[in-house]
C-alpha cells in the first residue's frame, strides 16, 4: 500500500506503507544513528515526534525486547529508506514491521530520506503527516501547520511509583519520559531506585530521605512544564545530590532562572562530540533534543558550563556551584549510542556517597 509523508512546507514524499496503517500528524526530526532503531522507537523523548532515519537500511536485525527503552513506544511515525526484507539476529523476537504493527506505529519505506533530511536541515524540524490516503495537499496543509504537541510529559510518565534494584544508595528517579537505561545504569551500580511520576512533589522526596535524585530525559519544550519546574526550585535547595539528563537538565536550568530556546533542527544522533571543559577531554555522545539552554542566560555565580558541543558550541552540561547538582544535555546512559560517558553515573554515585557520609556525621 502506498503511503505519504506530507510536510508543512508542501513537500510530499511517497513510499510503501509498513507497520501500522494509521494517519498521524506530528513534528518530524531526523536521526543519524546507524544502529539502534529499536532504542530510538522506544525513547519516550520522541513523544509527539516522528523520526526519519538517515541510515538507509533499517530493520536488518529485527527487534529484540531487550533493546526496548520503555514498554510502550511513543514515536508517532517512522520513515525509512529501505525496510530490510529479512531480519537476522540471534536475539530478535520479531521483525521491525511486526513490532510496529503490534505497537500501532505507522511507517513509510522507500522514501528518499536524504532529501527529507536536507529539507529539515534547511527549514528546521517541521510538522508533517503520515498517511495512506491520497489527499490533495492543500486540503490537509492547514491541519498539519497548526499541529502543536501538548501534555507530552504527562503522557509519558508513569502513574504510580515503583522500585527497581537493591542496594545501600536510595535514588529517587523522576520519570518525565524516562529511558529504561537510566534506571539500569543506577541499578547496575547497586542503587535502590524509586521511579516516581513527574508530578511527585519535592516535599515527598525530601521526606523520603533519598540519597540522590535523578531527573530523566523526556519529550517536548522544557518551558511547558511550569509545575515541575516549581518543584525543582524547592528540590534544588534541599541539598540532596541531583543528576539530570536532557529534559531534566533543561528544567533544572529553568528552575535556576535561566532560559531555553528551540534549536533549528536539534541534535538527534549517536555521534555528537562534547567537550568536558574541566579536562578538555572529548566524548562522543548520544543526543536527542530540539531545545537548548541559552548560554547567555547562565548566571556565572550559580553554575558553570561543564560540557559544550564541539561542533556548534552549545551548552551540553552544567555544574552548579552552590548545590550538589550536575546536569547534562546528552545521554550518558547510551542505548542507542556510545558508552563513553557512563562514568557520569559513577560520579553521581560518588556524590551520593559523600552526601550520605555527611548526613551520618
Amino acid at each position: 500500500m502506498k503511503a505519504y509523508l506530507i510536510l508543512a512546507d508542501g513537500h510530499v514524499f511517497t513510499g510503501e506503507s509498513f507497520g501500522a496503517i494509521k494517519e498521524t500528524i506530528c513534528e518530524w526530526v531526523f536521526n543519524t544513528s546507524m544502529t539502534g532503531y529499536t532504542e530510538i522507537l522506544t525513547d519516550p523523548s520522541y513523544a509527539g515526534q516522528g523520526v526519519v532515519m538517515t541510515y538507509p537500511l533499517i530493520g536488518n536485525y529485527g527487534v529484540s525486547y531487550k533493546d526496548e527503552e520503555c514498554g510502550l513506544p511513543y514515536v508517532e511515525g517512522f520513515v525509512v529508506h529501505e525496510l530490510s526484507r529479512l531480519s537476522s539476529h540471534f536475539n530478535m523476537n520479531m521483525s521491525l514491521n511486526d513490532y510496529m504493527i503490534e505497537n500501532d506505529i505507522p511507517g513509510i519505506q522507500g522514501v528518499d530520506t536524504r532529501a527529507v533530511t536536507r529539507i529539515i536541515r534547511e527549514k528546521g524540524y517541521i510538522n508533517g503527516m503520515i498517511t495512506t490516503r491520497d489527499y490533495d495537499v492543500e486540503d490537509v496543509l492547514e491541519r498539519i501547520i497548526n499541529y502543536h504537541p501538548h501534555d507530552l510529559v504527562k503522557r509519558c510518565t508513569c502513574h504510580v511509583p515503583y522500585k527497581l534494584g537493591e542496594g545501600s544508595l536510595r535514588v529517587a528517579l523522576y520519570d518525565y519520559g524516562m529511558k529504561r537505561s537510566i534506571a539500569n545504569e543506577l541499578v547496575k551500580r547497586q542503587c535502590e531506585v524509586t521511579i516516581l511520576p513527574a508530578d511527585t512533589s519535592a516535599q515527598t522526596i525530601i521526606n523520603g530521605h533519598f540519597d540522590g535524585v535523578m531527573l530523566s530525559n523526556g519529550p517536548g519544550d522544557p518551558a511547558d512544564n511550569e509545575d515541575i519546574i516549581m518543584e525543582l526550585k524547592i528540590l534544588k535547595a534541599s541539598g540532596i545530590p541531583i543528576f539530570a539528563i536532557c529534559l531534566g537538565h533543561q528544567m533544572m536550568a529553568l528552575a535556576h532562572d535561566m532560559t531555553t530556546s528551540p534549536m533549528h533542527f536539534g541534535h538527534h544522533g549517536a555521534n555528537h562530540p562534547v567537550r568536558d571543559l574541566t579536562t578538555n577531554r572529548i566524548y562522543i555522545s548520544t543526543q536527542n533534543h530540539n531545545y537548548m539552554i541559552d548560554a547567555s542566560s547562565i548566571n556565572k555565580t550559580d553554575a558553570s558550563i561543564w560540557f559544550e558541543n564541539v561542533n556548534d558550541g552549545t551548552v551540553e552540561g552544567l555544574k552548579y556551584l552552590h548545590e550538589p547538582i550536575m546536569t547534562v544535555q546528552f545521554h550518558p546512559e547510551a542505548h542507542a549510542g556510545p558508552l563513553d560517558t557512563s562514568f557520569l553515573f559513577d560520579e553521581f554515585i560518588h556524590m551520593m556517597e559523600e552526601y550520605k557520609d555527611a548526613k551520618k556525621t
Binding site: 538507509p56 536488518n60 529484540s64 526484507r85 537476522s88 540471534f90 562530540p273 562522543i284 542505548h335
Partner: protein, 1062 residues
C-alpha cells in the same frame, strides 16, 4: 594543546614494493600524511624503495630517498639528514618492523631521533603476540586461547590440549604470510614449520579456531589527550577463516544491533587506551553469531588496508589525522575538511552502504589454487558506494573488470545441486556466484548459511538480485521493473542480455521514464551539515546533488584495482595529470573505484566520482558534468578501453587520437606504419585458429611468441617451442580473449630496450633509454631495467631515438608513447608500441628529474615541449645509475609457477640507485628483500641447452665461495669443467633429495633454468618449494649473472642519493 615545538624534521618510512598484502594503500596514507606534515611547516625526509609511488615525489616530501628499507641504509640516511623525529606508523608492517629494528640497533638513541605518534613500546605490545595477550588479559578483553611457540612440538602439544582446528599465525609477517588453519597433526606440522621459518623472530601463535564467527573490524583514532573516536566499523561478509584482505567487506556493519556495535566499539577504546596509541588503529574481532561472545583477533597500531578503506568509505582522512596527532594536535583542534564546519573529533554518519571486493590474480595464474584462507591472495580491491547493499555489490562486481556484470557464471550453471553444495563448503573466489547459482537451484537460504557460515541477511540480498534477474528474464520489462533493476544497479547491458532487448532501447526507455542516475556526496555526516568537498557516488531514484560548473572541465579516468600488469604506476600518472591540469587552470574530475589509491583521495581532483569504470557509469557522469574533454592515456588499459565509448558520448579525447591508438594496436595498420618508417620488427602473422597458428609458426620457424592483441602486461603471452605448445597456448588465449586476433611472432633472443617519450606533434622528448638485464622473452615488467643503458652502443642509442621520433610522428602522438625494442645482432627491432603512459613513467621521471606526466599533460592541453623549457631529442644521460627490479609475491599464491616468461608475474618493484653500476644493482637486490648471502650454499638445476652458458656464471659463484649443489646431470657437467659441486638426489630418488636440502634451512639461493620436457613437473615442484620455504630463486641466467657480479663488485660503503636533487 598547541602543536609540539620539538618537531621540525620528520623521517617517514614507506612500505616498500607492492606485494600481496601490502599494496597502494600505504602510498595513499603516506602521501596524505606527508602533505599534512608539510602543511605544518615540517621538513619531511621520505624513504621508500618503491619508485612507482606518489610519496617518493619531490612534490610530496622535501628529501626523497629511494633506497632499500634496511637498517644499514636507514642509518646512513639518518646520519646524513639528522631528522629529529620518525613517524613509523605510515609504512605498513615494513615501517613498523624497520623502526623497531632501528631502535634495537641503537640508531634512534645514537642520533636522538624520537618516535612520534605511536611509540615503539606500544608497537611491541601490539605486535608481540605474548605481550599483547598479557595486555588483553589485564584489561579483560577476550582473545581466543592461544600459545606462542618456537618449536613445532610445542604447537602439537597445545593443539592436543585445545583441540583441532587451530590457526597458525607467524609473528611479524604481513598479510598472514605463512599462516593457515590446521585440522590435524600433519597439517599443523607443515604450516607451523613453514611459519616459524618466515617469522622474523621465529615465533608462531597457535590459536583455537573461531572459523565461522562473524569478522568485524573497527577503525579508531586516539590523540595524546586520550580522546577516542571510531571512524567506522566494517563487517566481513565472509566469516572468520578468510583473511580480511580476501573477504568481501561491507561498511558499516549490517547485522549488528546497537548493543553489539557499542560493545565492540567500547572494547576498541579500551584496547587503544591501554596500548596508548596516538594515531589510527585497526581492531579486528570475531563475534559469535549465536551469542554476545567475542574475541579480539588482532590490533594494527598503524594505518592499514582497512584504514584506507575506512577513509574512502567515510570521507574521514585517517592518515592525515594520524600525522596531525603525531605533531601534538588533539582531535578537536583539527577541522573536518569535508564539512569545514565540524571537527575531527566526531564520528562519521553514513547514509549509504559501501562494499569492497578483492581483486585476485587467478586470471594470471590459472594453475594456482583459488582456495581462500588466512593467507591473503588478492593483489588489489575495488570499492563501490550505493544507497542499498545490492546496488553496492553490483557496482563493485563490475568494477573488477572481469566481464562479469551480475551474479552469474555460465560454467556454474551446469552444476548439479550436490555439486553446488560441495562448492559452497569450498571457500574460494567463486563463492558469490556459487551462492547465486545455489539459490537459482532452490537450495534453501538456511542450508546455504549452514554451509558457508555467511549471515542469512547477506544471502537474502543475493537472493533479491537473483529474483530481479529472473523477473527480467521472464519479462515484460515495465518501467517499474526497470526502475527496480536500476535501483539495484543492474547495468543496461545485463538488462539487455536478460530481456533480449538491445541496450540502446533500454537506455531510451530509462530516459523516457526519467530513470537516470543521481549523484550524492559522501559528506561524513548524513546530510546533517552542508558538505563542501564534492566526493560523489551514483544511485537511482534520489535527488540529484551534483552539478556542472562553467569552468573548462577535463575528466581523467583512473586505472581501477591494482592487478598484476596494471599497478600503482598508473595511479601515479592519473594523479600527476590531475595536478598538472589544476596548475594549468582547468577544473578536474577523476573517476576511479580503487579505495587504496591517492587518486581517490577527496582533495586530489576538483570532483571525485567513486564509480565503476564502465561505459554506462561513465555516461551517467558525462550526462551531469558535460566535460570539455577526457584524458585516457594515463589510466592504463582500463581507461583506454573506454575511449570509443567516450567519443560516442561526444566527449573529445584529449591527446593522441583514438584512431592513432588503434593504428598502434592493429597489426596490419601498424605494419604499414613500420614499413613507411623503414623500421623492422620480428616477423609475424595474425591468426584466429589453432591451424592458422601452426602454419604461421612453421613459416616463421620455432621459437615463436604467441599473444592476444589488445592486452596489457603481456597477459596470455607465451613462447612456443613446438606444435604442442601452440595448441595449448591458443586454447588458453581463446578462453579469455575470443574477440581479438592472436599474434604469432618470431622470437628473437636479443637485448631488450625501452623508451618513454613525449611527442607534441612537432618533436619528441626522451628523458632516457632503459635497458633490460634479462634477454627478450621475459616480460618487460618482470625484467631488471637499467638507466642509463650500460651495454648498448652509441649508434644503437641514436637509432632508438630516431625510431622513436619517426614512430611518434607517424602515429601523430600527442602526449606519451612507450616503445619496446629488441637489439639482436646489432639490429634494432620494434616489438611493441603503446601510445600512452607506461609502467616505467614514475621510475624514469624520478631518475631523470623530468616530470613526464606534467609535461605530457601540458602538451595534451596545447603547450609545446619547447614552451615548457625542454629541448627536443634525448636528454644527456645522468651520472646516477638507477636500476628497477621486479618484486614477486609467489609465496602467497599456492600453485603458481614462478618461472618467468612473456606474461608478467611481478606485483611490484624497487629501485637501486648509485653512481656505481654494481652498487646500484646490489641495492636493488637488497631492496627486493633478498637476504644477501650468509650460509653460502646454492642449488643449481640447469636444463641441458643452457648448461654451457651457465658455466662461466657457475664459476663466478664458485670462486666467490659458494658451495654448489646440483642433481647428477648438472653436477657431472660442472665437475667435468673443473667446478667443484655436490651431488644431490632428484625428488623421486632416495633421501637426501633437493627438497630435503631446501628444508634443512641452509640454502641461500636456487638457480633454476626450467625445461619444458619431462622434468618440467619436477622443476615446478622445486620452484614452489623454494618459494614457500622463503629461499630466493632465479629462473633466468641473466639475473643470476647480475647477482653474482654485483655481489663481487659492489662498493662496501654505498652512496645515498636524495632524488629530490636530481
Amino acid at each position: 594543546m598547541p602543536k609540539r615545538h620539538d618537531i621540525h624534521k620528520v623521517l617517514v618510512i614507506g612500505s616498500g614494493p607492492i606485494i600481496i598484502g601490502q599494496a597502494a594503500e600505504f602510498d595513499y596514507a603516506g602521501t596524505q600524511a606527508c602533505r599534512a606534515l608539510k602543511e605544518e611547516g615540517i621538513e619531511v625526509v621520505l624513504v621508500n624503495s618503491n619508485p612507482a609511488t606518489i610519496m617518493t615525489d619531490k612534490d610530496v616530501a622535501d628529501h626523497v630517498y629511494i633506497e632499500p628499507l634496511t637498517v644499514e641504509s636507514l642509518t646512513m640516511i639518518i646520519d646524513h639528514e639528522r631528522p629529529d623525529s620518525i613517524l613509523p606508523t605510515l609504512g605498513g608492517q615494513n615501517g613498523l618492523n624497520l623502526t623497531l629494528a632501528l631502535e634495537d640497533a641503537g640508531v634512534l638513541l645514537q642520533y636522538h631521533v624520537k618516535t612520534i605518534g605511536t611509540d615503539t613500546a606500544t608497537i611491541r605490545q601490539a605486535e608481540d603476540r605474548e605481550l599483547f595477550k598479557e595486555l588483553m588479559e589485564s584489561i579483560n578483553e577476550p582473545i581466543a586461547p592461544s600459545l606462542s611457540v618456537e618449536h613445532v612440538e610445542d604447537a602439537l602439544e597445545f593443539a592436543h590440549a585445545i583441540g583441532y582446528p587451530v590457526v597458525v599465525r607467524p609473528a611479524y609477517t604481513l598479510g598472514g604470510t605463512g599462516g593457515g588453519i590446521a585440522h590435524d597433526d600433519q597439517s599443523l606440522h607443515d604450516i607451523c614449520s613453514n611459519g616459524l621459518r618466515l617469522s622474523r623472530v621465529n615465533q608462531c601463535l597457535i590459536e583455537k579456531s573461531i572459523a565461522g564467527w562473524k569478522e568485524i573490524e573497527y577503525e579508531v583514532m586516539r590523540d595524546h589527550n586520550g580522546n577516542c573516536i571510531t571512524v567506522c566499523n566494517m563487517e566481513n561478509i565472509d566469516p572468520v577463516g578468510i583473511h580480511t584482505g580476501d573477504s568481501i567487506v561491507v561498511a558499516p556493519s549490517q547485522t549488528l544491533g546497537d548493543y553489539d556495535y557499542q560493545m565492540l566499539r567500547h572494547a576498541a577504546f579500551n584496547i587503544i587506551s591501554a596500548l596508548g596509541i596516538e594515531g589510527g588503529c585497526n581492531v579486528q574481532y570475531a563475534l559469535d553469531p549465536q551469542s554476545l561472545e567475542y574475541c579480539v583477533i588482532e590490533v594494527n597500531p598503524r594505518v592499514s588496508r582497512s584504514s584506507a578503506l575506512a577513509s574512502k568509505a567515510t570521507g574521514y582522512p585517517i592518515a592525515r589525522l594520524a600525522a596531525k596527532i603525531a605533531l601534538g594536535y588533539t582531535l578537536d583542534e583539527i577541522k573536518n575538511a569535508i564539512t569545514n564546519k565540524t571537527y575531527a573529533s566526531f564520528e562519521p554518519a553514513l547514509d549509504y552502504v559501501v562494499v569492497k571486493i578483492p581483486k585476485w590474480p587467478f586470471d594470471k595464474f590459472y594453475d594456482a589454487s583459488r582456495q581462500l584462507g588466512t593467507q591473503m591472495k588478492a593483489t588489489g580491491e575495488v570499492m563501490a558506494i550505493c544507497d542499498n547493499f545490492e546496488g553496492a555489490l553490483m557496482k563493485a562486481l563490475r568494477s573488477l573488470e572481469q566481464n562479469i556484470n551480475y551474479l552469474y557464471k555460465k560454467d556454474l550453471s551446469q552444476d548439479s545441486p550436490d555439486e553446488l553444495r560441495r562448492k559452497l563448503t569450498h571457500t574460494d573466489d567463486q563463492r558469490l556466484f556459487v551462492i547465486a547459482e545455489a539459490l537459482r537451484h532452490h537450495i534453501s537460504m538456511r542450508e546455504i548459511q549452514e554451509l558457508t557460515k555467511i549471515d542469512i541477511w547477506f544471502i537474502d540480498k543475493i537472493r533479491h538480485l537473483v529474483e530481479i534477474e529472473s523477473r527480467l528474464r521472464n519479462g515484460p520489462l515495465t518501467p517499474e521493473l526497470l526502475l527496480e533493476a536500476k535501483i539495484r544497479e543492474f547495468p543496461d547491458c545485463v538488462i539487455s542480455e536478460l530481456t533480449h532487448m538491445d541496450e540502446k532501447s533500454i537506455r531510451q526507455m530509462r530516459i523516457d521514464n526519467q530513470i537516470t542516475a543521481s549523484f550524492r556526496p559522501v559528506d561524513t555526516c548524513a546530510a546533517e551539515f552542508a558538505a563542501e568537498t564534492p566526493y560523489f557516488y551514483s544511485m537511482y531514484n534520489g535527488e540529484q546533488e551534483a552539478s556542472a560548473n562553467n569552468k573548462k572541465t577535463v575528466m581523467v579516468l583512473g586505472s581501477g584495482p591494482i592487478r598484476i600488469g596494471q599497478g600503482i604506476e598508473f595511479d601515479f600518472c592519473s594523479v600527476h595529470c590531475v595536478w598538472a591540469l589544476k596548475e594549468a587552470g582547468y577544473d578536474t574530475i577523476i573517476v576511479n573505484n580503487n579505495p587504496e589509491t591517492v587518486s581517490t583521495d577527496f582533495d586530489v581532483a576538483d570532483r571525485l566520482y567513486f564509480e565503476p569504470l564502465t561505459r554506462e557509469d561513465v555516461q551517467s557522469i558525462v550526462d551531469i558534468e558535460h566535460p570539455d574533454g577526457a584524458i585516457v592515456q594515463f589510466g592504463g588499459q582500463t581507461a583506454i578501453k573506454l575511449t570509443k565509448d567516450l567519443m560516442e558520448m561526444g566527449v573529445p579525447i584529449l591527446g593522441t587520437s583514438p584512431d592513432d591508438v588503434d593504428a598502434a594496436e592493429d597489426r596490419e595498420r601498424f605494419d604499414d606504419i613500420l614499413e613507411r618508417c623503414h623500421i623492422d620488427r620480428p616477423h609475424g602473422q595474425t591468426v584466429f585458429t589453432v591451424d592458422e597458428a601452426l602454419s604461421a609458426a612453421h613459416d616463421l620457424g620455432y621459437p615463436v611468441l604467441v599473444r592476444p592483441s589488445y592486452v596489457l602486461g603481456g597477459a596470455g603471452m607465451e613462447i612456443a617451442l613446438n606444435d604442442d605448445d601452440i595448441v595449448k597456448f591458443i586454447g588458453h588465449i581463446n578462453e579469455d580473449y575470443q574477440e581479438h586476433p592472436i599474434l604469432v611472432d618470431k622470437y628473437l633472443p636479443g637485448k631488450e630496450c625501452e623508451v618513454d617519450a613525449i611527442c607534441d606533434g612537432h618533436g619528441i622528448l626522451i628523458p632516457g633509454i632503459m635497458e633490460h638485464v634479462e634477454r627478450a622473452g621475459v616480460h618487460s615488467g618482470d625484467s631488471i631495467s637499467v638507466y642509463p643503458p650500460q651495454k648498448i652502443k652509441q649508434t644503437i642509442k641514436s637509432q632508438i631515438v630516431d625510431y622513436t621520433d619517426r614512430l611518434a610522428k607517424a602515429l601523430h602522438v600527442v602526449g606519451l608513447i612507450n616503445i619496446q625494442f629488441i637489439v639482436y645482432d646489432d639490429q634494432v627491432y620494434v616489438i611493441e608500441v603503446n601510445p600512452r603512459s607506461s609502467r616505467t613513467i614514475p621510475y624514469i621521471s624520478k631518475v631523470t628529474g623530468v616530470p613526464l606526466v606534467k609535461v605530457a599533460t601540458k602538451v595534451i592541453m596545447g603547450e609545446s615541449i619547447t614552451d615548457q623549457g625542454y629541448h627536443y631529442g634525448i636528454l644527456p644521460e645522468k651520472e646516477t645509475i638507477a636500476i628497477k627490479m621486479p618484486v614477486f609475491s609467489f609465496e602467497k599464491i599456492t600453485g603458481a609457477d614462478i618461472s618467468l616468461g612473456p606474461e608478467m608475474k611481478s606485483t611490484g618493484e624497487v629501485l637501486g640507485i648509485s653512481r656505481d653500476f654494481n652498487t646500484a644493482l646490489y641495492k636493488a637486490f637488497e631492496g627486493t628483500g633478498l637476504p644477501i648471502s650468509q650460509k653460502e650454499n646454492i642449488i643449481v638445476t640447469i636444463r641441458d641447452s643452457a648448461k654451457e652458458e651457465f658455466l662461466p656464471i657457475a664459476r663466478k659463484y664458485y670462486e666467490y665461495g659458494y658451495h654448489l649443489y646440483a642433481t647428477k646431470g648438472t653436477c657431472d657437467y660442472l665437475k667435468a669443467n673443473g667446478i667443484k659441486s655436490h651431488q644431490v638426489n632428484r625428488m623421486n630418488e632416495s633421501s637426501p633429495t633437493l627438497i630435503d636440502l631446501m628444508l634443512s634451512n641452509t640454502i641461500d639461493l636456487v638457480i633454476d633454468m626450467p625445461s619444458r620436457d619431462n622434468n618440467f613437473k619436477d622443476g615446478f615442484t622445486i620452484r614452489r618449494f623454494a618459494v614457500e620455504a622463503g629461499i630466493p630463486i632465479y629462473t633466468s641466467l641473466d639475473t643470476a649473472n647480475a647477482l653474482i657480479n654485483c655481489l663481487t663488485r659492489h662498493k662496501d660503503k654505498p652512496d645515498i642519493i636524495d632524488i629530490a636533487t636530481l
